[in-house]
Symmetry: D3
Subunit: 160 residues, 6 copies
């Protein structure tokens, strides 16, 4: 029967044993978006090219958050990340900013949570910087796109 | 003309001056959800009442994340929170777990970002604990519901 | 009936609301000790006066830990401490080092946990620095001695 | 002559060189307890099985503390832990809660300090959650039980 | 006789008592620079206006470091900052980048250390981003320019 | 053409990929100094030998800062350090304290930033402890002295 690995037989939380896993190259890609008013998006887009670079600040926040994931998520194993890249895409039609994070390591566990955490904090930073003009923004569709490495192998999200 | 407060006239990021604001009682409520397979939700629901309490772990992660928001979001002011409550609601029909956070302080800036951060990390912790059985879960609709206190006064999200 | 304040009526953990409490001057004193082999104590005592100052390092660790208590203890309110002092006492007869911490703030909650955390990490640092020569050391009797300030008023531990 | 490894010949503190050690599998088990009034223990025991799960919260705090040990203890080497488990045992006769932590890694130094830190913060969290009803609780007997791995090999505490 | 306030009469370090000080508005301005090869400076200058914004990243690092100063400097009091601004100035003639930080709070102690810490980490981030092309860069002249507020009043560095 | 490795082709900051690098033994030595009034230096020198050990506190701060560098410098890779040593030298003639840090690891990236960060925070701690008597102290000449290991090999600063 399928069971949560993060609990022992008594139902108590634990940081599961990964000591017997071989260190392998791990990659995870996650994505998400923040929906806003068109005027807000316009301001972000304008700043990116000249001054007031909201996405530049959010990118740094996202990268730094990836490194601190294991401090925030209780049962997450600490890992020395070897690469973090963050991409933002301004979608004028949908009045959204998309964020995609790619995180890599060579280790005994995967980096899915690190990639998702980077996306979340990147989008939250956009919210923080724009909240004075658009308090109703919504962070949506934060999800894993792909992972590779480790015993469970390659996983890719099915197209919508 | 409306402008981002987090940039100066030269377009450089700054932690804005709130030194002239009066400390007032601040409240923020934020919410979000995580969508999953019905079988995953069933396992979470079963654990909550007996053993393997995913939501109990996620609640602690959410509360702790609220306290560390200013370390993660670059231009966010540090604040001594006076209250953090987290509620989870299992929605069997929609195969979702809803999360709602309420954060309070008496201070010179609001606690919206703290409430949103708590929701995000609470939901990410659920993802972490269930990912081995359902890698496709999606975190959705992370948004502010209401805020009170401060110069900008009361704000409430319009009903959908 | 007496109840845990850190849980709501549904039994869910929360960071309790202290927003209605008045900020008052708060003081807490905590203590504890570490028991060891006489030879280990002798080495610590020798270093304190000349070189290899174990207690000097432990004192710094204790002070710094007091400041980070709210990051470690999930439901503990963050507080801006106004004073932290740490005293060590070498008890040659009992082959122990005693540690006492005094922590103060002006705030809406007490600083008992901060004082206890300082004692714990101070003693743990002694353990760390001496473990290569005495792995069997025992940290004992970590307890609150006294607290003052706040609604619950003054409390003092009864003499043994 | 035996000397503290954490000081150089001039008596100055240092994070000692472990670069020449081989990474080996490391395990440490530590334990401790918190003594309280029987009524307090009764409330903890009641909550564990129904709602108001003090030990569930303390377990999460203990696991998270293990991961942050090197930030707290000045000369402790940072390590990527591969496993952390925490067990609580309610001892009604003695009016105590016992805590035991097991921590593992594959690395160049041991994880004794991480295991002791987990025990300390787990017990401190119990104190925090029960302090409103029992300020006199005492944390006792925090000690290493066993360690394995590394040049110094296997060590086990002699029975009392 | 003048004495260090951070030590007690026995010469033991302490976080000094500021509990009797009145909270006042505090401002500190600090500055420093990083010297480099003209070609390195040219690349930084080019990036600032188009893409590859080294100073934008360094500014965020500096702001975030200001908030975490009390975690790094052992006897520094934690403070809730109300404003942090960072300015960089490219000095082509001297082949230097100057950094200036202004930090403010309303509190019982000053923010000089926070301003200096922001300058240091801002300049270190420039070093990090340019080190692959210019390992010999030197961080120089990190100093307080001015402080206001508190019992010791206004202080301003004499002109060179 | 030489380019910043910390930006991609679009000029966006990234934590660069070191996943293909072999883990090698890495060493970095950095140095810096703090200039002060002769009377301040005299007090520091007096304390070092008897009581009020400013340099002892600063040494601990420097070691701890080395471990947290990757939290502070946005694009810096996290690394498990295997050794950190800090040396202070009192230069009475020049009224300066010199600080030198040596940091080592076995990893995929170097530890230059960690060594520089240790020097910076060590010197800042001296400033903090002496600021009440000498606000005009200046931190100077923070620089890399030498690095070894990794693809770029050995580098040593040319004599002045």
């Amino acid at each position: 029967m399928t069971q949560f690995t993060h609990f022992n037989a008594a139902g108590e939380a634990q940081m599961v044993d990964v000591g017997d896993k071989l260190p392998t190259r791990r990659v995870a890609r996650a994505a998400g978006c923040i929906r806003m008013q068109p005027a807000t998006l316009h301001m972000i887009a304008a700043g990116t090219h000249t001054k007031g670079d909201v996405l530049g600040v959010a990118r740094i926040a996202a990268i730094m958050a990836a490194k601190r994931t294991a401090e925030l998520v209780p049962l997450c194993h600490p890992l020395a990340l070897t690469r973090v890249t963050i991409e933002f895409l301004i979608d004028t039609n949908a009045a959204q900013v998309h964020c995609q994070a790619q995180v890599e390591t060579t280790g005994q566990t995967g980096v899915e949570i690190e990639a998702l955490c980077a996306v979340q904090i990147g989008l939250l930073t956009i919210y923080d910087m724009c909240k004075a003009i658009d308090r109703g923004m919504i962070i949506d569709a934060v999800r894993l796109l792909e992972k590779a490495g480790g015993r469970s192998g390659h996983w890719q999200r099915a197209p919508d």
